[in-house]
């Protein structure tokens, strides 16, 4: 047993941090009215791709690095610390879906290009209400010889407008649910950017009208639970790392900012808030790393661990990023400071793929089933 990170993991994290601190700037997003279009989204992707990160979790057989969820957590967390806008997350979700659910041919056709950074993906699960569990099937798939025709609407699709290929949950005639692979650049696919409050992330609606696709090999019943656990873990990892970054910058500010002749961090109201924040950071990190380990090991508690991590980190990130604005005072509420970007990422991560409360409902269901 060893609950601590290994030297290798710490080094991986440190090298990612060094790289990102040097390469990523939010300056252009901190201009009022900025959107993700101003966020160096494509340029960041080129840098990230050059590091080989798109292939992190792709098997070595498909030219990836074949790393575990723990390794991924090191790098994904660092990206979330800087909020680095890029199509990394959508591509990651898509790569997971193809790697777990795709046929050998599908994997061979797509994954090496993804690992090389030349192909980007996105995963379309939710409908306009945001519901994902089970995946919405407002989209339907109709068999057309060897291929399928997809029609319907998806929403909250991360990085859809950047993606070359979409992985879409849809319902077959007859009612089976499955995932389908679609080329994004075809007449039947329309992608509309959402005016998303988290301007460091690209999120879009996708409308399909007889779009041509192929079906992933795996059943929905196999693929979705596996995929969902990883998606939740990834969002939790982002949230935990963001929480820690917000705490750190708030502590720094509280040491410097003076009021009535002393640093504001010497007032108990601030001081105790920061101690509470550290507690939330410690808990977020513990929950997330446990999920990373459990998913890496395909442990029986993986689903539970991922749901717990998403539940805890969602609330903690929202609370800490909100408290951070309060401690910075009015300046922390302006567009020109980073505080609001974290606050918005926190709230967006909390809602995507099921809120903290929805995750807690799943946790208690799992615990009851186990007890029964």
């Amino acid at each position: 047993m060893n609950f601590a990170l290994s030297e290798d993991h710490l080094m991986l994290r440190q090298s990612a941090r060094t790289f990102l601190e040097k390469e990523i700037s939010l300056a252009r997003v901190l201009v009022p009215g900025a959107t993700v279009a101003d966020a160096d989204y494509e340029a960041n992707w080129s840098k990230i791709a050059a590091m080989g990160w798109p292939g992190l979790v792709i098997d070595e057989a498909y030219d990836g690095l074949g790393l575990s969820c723990i390794d991924l957590a090191m790098i994904l967390g660092e990206m979330a610390r800087t909020l680095a806008p890029s199509p990394f997350l959508g591509t990651l979700f898509g790569a997971w879906a193809v790697q777990k659910g795709g046929s050998e041919a599908q994997k061979k056709a797509l994954l090496p290009a993804v690992a090389a950074g030349s192909t980007k993906l996105a995963l379309a699960v939710a409908d306009a209400s945001g519901a994902v569990d089970p995946p919405s099937h407002e989209a339907t798939a109709r068999k057309r010889g060897q291929s399928w025709g997809l029609t319907g609407a998806k929403s909250f699709v991360i990085d859809a407008a950047a993606a070359d290929w979409l992985v879409v949950a849809a319902q077959e005639e007859g009612g089976n649910r499955a995932f389908f692979l679609l080329e994004a650049n075809q007449p039947g696919v329309q992608v509309d950017l959402l005016p998303w409050r988290d301007v460091t992330r690209q999120v879009a609606d996708v409308r399909l009208k007889d779009a041509v696709g192929e079906r992933l090999a795996a059943d929905d019943a196999t693929l979705w639970p596996w995929l969902r656990d990883r998606v939740l873990f990834a969002l939790a990892t982002e949230s935990a790392a963001g929480t820690q970054r917000v705490m750190e910058m708030t502590v720094d500010y509280a040491k410097e900012r003076m009021a009535f002749g002393r640093p504001i961090g010497s007032y108990q109201a601030i001081k105790h808030s920061l101690a509470d924040m550290l507690g939330q950071v410690e808990c977020s990190n513990a929950a997330t790393l446990y999920a990373a380990w459990a998913l890496s090991e395909n442990h029986a508690r993986g689903s539970l661990a991922a749901a717990m991590a998403k539940a805890y980190t969602s609330d903690a990130y929202m609370a800490v990023s909100q408290r951070s604005i309060q401690i910075f005072g009015a300046i922390g509420f302006t567009w020109e400071m980073v505080n609001h970007l974290y606050f918005k990422r926190a709230r967006a991560n909390a809602e995507l793929f099921g809120s903290a409360r929805a995750q807690r409902a799943r946790v208690i269901d799992m615990v009851e089933r186990k007890a029964a």
Binding site: P32, G130, R257, A269, A330, F333, W335, H340, K344
Partner: protein, 394 residues
């Protein structure tokens, strides 16, 4: 004790209603001259109205669809100081344009280095013949981008302790040397606040309000909104949606079926109803000629986080859709005239309500010290000459 508000047949109400029936579309000046801009002021500006009459006037204006001229800094905060501290010339020059809404006012108080420690401000006003020359940098100035008149606090004597060397001025905002920069906040909405840069701004010496050194007393009085807080239950400083509208909205989208949301909504609803009662009690206290005390601080201490809870639950009820800019949580609740009536804007702006006009921490200190008599926070800089204290901190 009687919790009924003045009824339909109240004679004063009849009188007020008759005025609005006779004057269905009054100009700002007509409203002001009828005494409706500041009914609690003495004549000729107001009607010497007690709290009950103020409430009636508010209700009847609402009924007639008429608004007091939008000039909150003058009408709620600052103009009253001219009655007691202004010269007759200042009153004649400034008051009617202020009350009629012709001249929008703003408060040039806060500074970037100050935060809660407003008394530590650095803007200086130096007497130079028959002018003051002002140099400094103000921030969080509502309405500066629309204002004709700025009420400015500046340091006239740096060798006095920080609260003693301040003076207040009435500044024409189009005086050369004044530059206004809007601050866009996280809501991305049209700016609420501005920064104001003052670079060797020369103003006539007769724009000093009161005497040199009275600035701190004037501006702290002005920051306590003087006009009775009428029953304003809205989430954002009394404006915008209230807990009742939250519950109606949640019922409309059937969100109350969820046990946890139902309980949370009920809790917020109860809180909101109690805050209405507290606001009415403050009104009664005024009617009973009890002087306004620090209860304003306790009301804001309770109302600000309550308002945040109202808009937060509405936002969470939207799920992921709540992150789409401009998305409304409840289909049938359309935005009214007030920009805060927009639920989405109210949510993203709501972080400000525990920051503006006293942070939540400062309010709790005020409540604990002034209402409960607890020991004051130490301020080692309070008694030193300001310039010396500043050197020590540098």
């Amino acid at each position: 004790m009687d919790f009924e508000l003045p009824g339909e047949d109240h004679p004063k109400r009849q009188e007020i209603r008759a005025w609005f029936e006779a004057n269905p579309h009054p100009s700002g000046l007509a409203l002001a001259q009828a005494g409706f801009a500041v009914p609690h002021w003495p004549r000729p500006w107001g009607l010497e109205a007690d709290a009950e009459l103020q409430l009636i006037i508010d209700q009847e204006m609402k009924r007639a669809g008429v608004h007091v001229p939008r000039n909150p800094v003058a009408i709620n905060n600052c103009a009253q100081s001219l009655l007691t501290h202004g010269t007759e010339a200042q009153r004649q020059h400034f008051l009617w344009p202020a009350l009629s809404g012709e001249h929008t006012w703003c408060m040039l108080f806060s500074e970037p280095s100050g935060g809660s420690d407003l008394g530590n401000l650095r803007t200086v006003a130096r007497l130079d013949g028959d002018h003051y020359v002002i140099k400094g940098h103000k921030i969080w100035t509502s309405l500066a981008h629309k204002a004709k008149v700025g009420v400015l606090v500046a340091r006239t004597d740096p060798d006095q302790p920080k609260h003693k060397g301040l003076s207040e001025f009435l500044v024409d905002m189009d005086t050369p040397g004044i530059r206004v920069r809007p601050i866009i906040d996280m809501s991305a909405h049209e700016n609420e606040y501005n920064e104001v840069f003052l670079e060797d701004v020369r103003i006539p010496a007769d724009r000093l309000l009161g005497k040199e050194g009275e600035g701190w007393a004037l501006c702290t009085t002005q920051l306590q909104t003087e006009r009775v807080a009428l029953s304003r239950p809205g989430a954002i400083w009394g404006h915008g949606p209230s807990a009742r509208e939250l519950v109606e909205g949640l019922a409309e989208i059937r969100a109350l079926a969820d046990g946890a949301i139902r309980d949370e909504a009920a809790q917020i609803f109860v809180e909101g109803e109690i805050l209405r009662l507290l606001a009415c009690r403050a009104l009664s206290d005024r009617m009973n000629a009890k002087a306004p005390g620090p209860e304003g601080a306790i009301h804001k201490m309770l109302a600000a986080p309550h308002g945040q809870r109202v808009v937060d639950l509405a936002k969470r009820s939207q799920g992921a859709r709540g992150m789409i800019a401009g998305e409304k949580p409840f289909p049938s609740q359309l935005a009214g005239d007030d920009p805060y009536d927009d639920w989405d804007y109210a949510f993203w702006f709501s972080q400000a309500v525990t920051l503006g006009v006293g942070t939540q921490e400062v309010l709790k200190n005020v409540v604990a010290e002034r209402m409960l008599g607890l020991p004051r926070e130490l301020d080692p800089t309070a008694r030193l000459p300001w310039a010396e204290a500043r050197r020590k901190q540098a």
